[in-house]
């Protein structure tokens, strides 16, 4: 298998001028072509900051201190802002935790998807619009002709997550980073979104870095899993190994947390 993304010893700190807060201590992970990799850990363990470091869409105060990030053998930490901008959305796309918050409230969802299309694919507006309609159908939005003109607050959470998905898949990225995409949704919608994600992956052949604190989701979809704890990637193994033979005590804790619930 071809290596797509490699993060080596990443260290990220928040710089509050008078003091520093370390968000990521030492994170290393790899994602191969056409693979689903899970990144699991409790809240505040640095999963999201690790993911945002990849294309450097970090909050202003967060600074990458050291480490290396390679994407298709290109060192992203040395890439210019210009070069990164052509990778964002086109090669590496994101979907986020709370879709409503991540959509512009004063812009129709159709226009927002169209923006992603225009940025990297078609300059021509009519072509772009046809393509957006196609995308809306692909993520199974009923009546795409009408939904195109809806504002985010007029759609449900699940619907908005489908919009985000359409937006991120607009340019057929090779890596999709999903940052807790189902945490804000209820379980039935969660299942539907996960099914959709797997279906689209089968069709377009991209890799997914799936970030979550919910190991049961990873049990369902992931090929390999990394466990993050206090800013460090503490364990990595194939899905089966992690569940049958967890080595790090924190992994044990995460698994127990879910097994207990399912036993009840």
């Amino acid at each position: 298998m071809q290596k797509l993304l490699e993060i080596k010893n990443l260290k990220v700190q928040f710089d509050f001028e008078k003091y520093f807060i370390s968000a990521v201590e030492d994170a290393s992970l790899e994602v191969n072509e056409n693979e689903i990799v899970g990144l699991a850990g409790e809240s505040g363990s640095g999963k999201t900051i690790t993911a945002f470091s990849i294309t450097r869409i970090l909050p202003a105060k967060a600074k990458i201190i050291s480490g290396e990030i390679f994407f298709r053998n290109q060192n992203l930490l040395e890439a210019s802002e210009e070069a990164l901008r052509s990778i964002r959305g086109k090669e590496i796309a994101y979907i986020f935790q709370e879709p409503v918050a991540y959509l512009n409230p004063v812009m129709t969802v159709g226009d927002q998807i169209m923006e992603a299309v225009i940025l990297h694919q078609f300059q021509d507006k009519t072509k772009a619009k046809d393509y957006v309609m196609e995308l809306l159908g692909l993520v199974k939005i009923p009546q795409p002709q009408e939904r195109f003109y809806a504002y985010p607050h007029q759609l449900s959470g699940g619907m908005n997550q489908r919009i985000m998905l359409a937006m991120s898949l607009a340019c057929k990225p090779s890596l999709l980073i999903a940052d807790e995409p189902t945490t804000a949704l209820d379980v039935t919608i969660e299942a539907a979104i996960l099914d959709l994600l797997l279906e689209l992956k089968a069709e377009f052949q991209f890799s997914i870095l799936f970030i979550t604190h919910n190991l049961s989701i990873l049990h369902r979809i992931a090929d390999r899993i990394y466990i993050m704890h206090k800013g460090k990637t503490v364990e990595s193994a194939s899905k089966d190994d992690i569940f049958s033979n967890p080595k790090h005590p924190h992994t044990q804790e995460l698994i127990n947390a879910y097994l207990k619930v399912s036993e009840v």
């Binding site: 294309t55 202003a60 964002r88 991540y102 959509l103 512009n104 992603a116 985000m164 937006m167 607009a170």
Partner: protein, 261 residues
């Protein structure tokens, strides 16, 4: 839509239509001198009377509306564009740029605007164009501060991060996402600003430093009326009322928008 907003919009629309179609609406030529009827009170022929040169006041006010409204709109247009550019640069990029722009804004706010304009007009010719530009260049500070404050909070919102994540440039983020989200308070400020600019222009014209006769503006009709105040009340009352109604209209709109937000 609330009543305030609707009333304001009706007032301003009517005034704008009158101003745009002035040649068709005005009953007389505003500069036509009728020696036979100097200082005649309102009558059938001259609805709002004539001035000391026998010119029809109603026609002069109708043409004056063109000047007053266009000064208001263009001056505040200049101010808003300047304010949007400086404020959004300042709010979005922060750091040294923010410091420089905001200190410059503070400096501009220290000047008593009216006297600054007086000084400038004293040096340069006081054409309509100059008046618009000067008012525009001295009223952008409020917009700049407003938009900066809005962008400071908006830029931390998640959807801006999502925009970065799809590869949008800073310019695109500012113009397509940040400014449209901040437009509400800006609109309020714009309508208030137009009212302010019209008052400022009237004030300048009243002092003889604004629009020069024979071009009619509400301000210079008032100053010409000053000398005959004792005998011809209609020369001051009607232009004064016109200014009052216009300002009221714009203030109603701004209050109406504020309540809609």
């Amino acid at each position: 839509m609330n009543k305030l907003l609707i009333t304001g919009i009706i007032i301003i629309s009517v005034l704008s239509i009158i101003a745009v179609f002035a040649p068709f609406v005005a009953p007389h030529d505003p500069n036509n001198i009728d020696e036979a009827s100097l200082l005649t009170p309102p009558s059938g022929k001259y609805l709002l009377g004539t001035d000391q040169l026998g010119r029809d006041i109603l026609s002069r006010m109708i043409y004056g509306a063109r000047i007053s409204l266009s000064v208001g709109l263009i001056a505040i247009g200049i101010a808003t564009i300047l304010g949007l550019i400086l404020g959004s640069l300042s709010g979005y990029y922060g750091g040294i740029l923010d410091n420089i722009i905001m200190r410059f804004t503070d400096i501009m706010l220290c000047f008593p605007t009216f006297f600054l304009i007086l000084a400038v007009v004293a040096v340069w010719e006081s054409s309509i164009f100059n008046i618009m530009v000067i008012i525009g260049l001295t009223s952008w500070m409020g917009v700049a501060r407003l938009i900066r404050a809005e962008i400071l909070s908006l830029k931390e919102r998640e959807f801006i991060q999502a925009e970065k994540a799809i590869g949008a440039s800073n310019l695109r983020i500012i113009t397509r996402h940040l400014i449209p989200n901040a437009i509400g308070p800006i609109l309020v400020n714009v309508t208030l600003g137009i009212a302010g600019a019209i008052l400022l222009e009237s004030g300048l014209s009243f002092l003889g430093l604004g629009i020069q006769p024979p071009t009619p503006s509400w301000g210079n009709i008032l100053i010409e009326a000053k000398s005959t105040l004792g005998v011809a009340w209609w020369l001051t009352v009607f232009p004064g009322l016109a200014i009052l109604i216009t300002i009221l209209g714009f203030n109603l709109i701004s209050e109406g928008i504020r309540r809609e937000l």
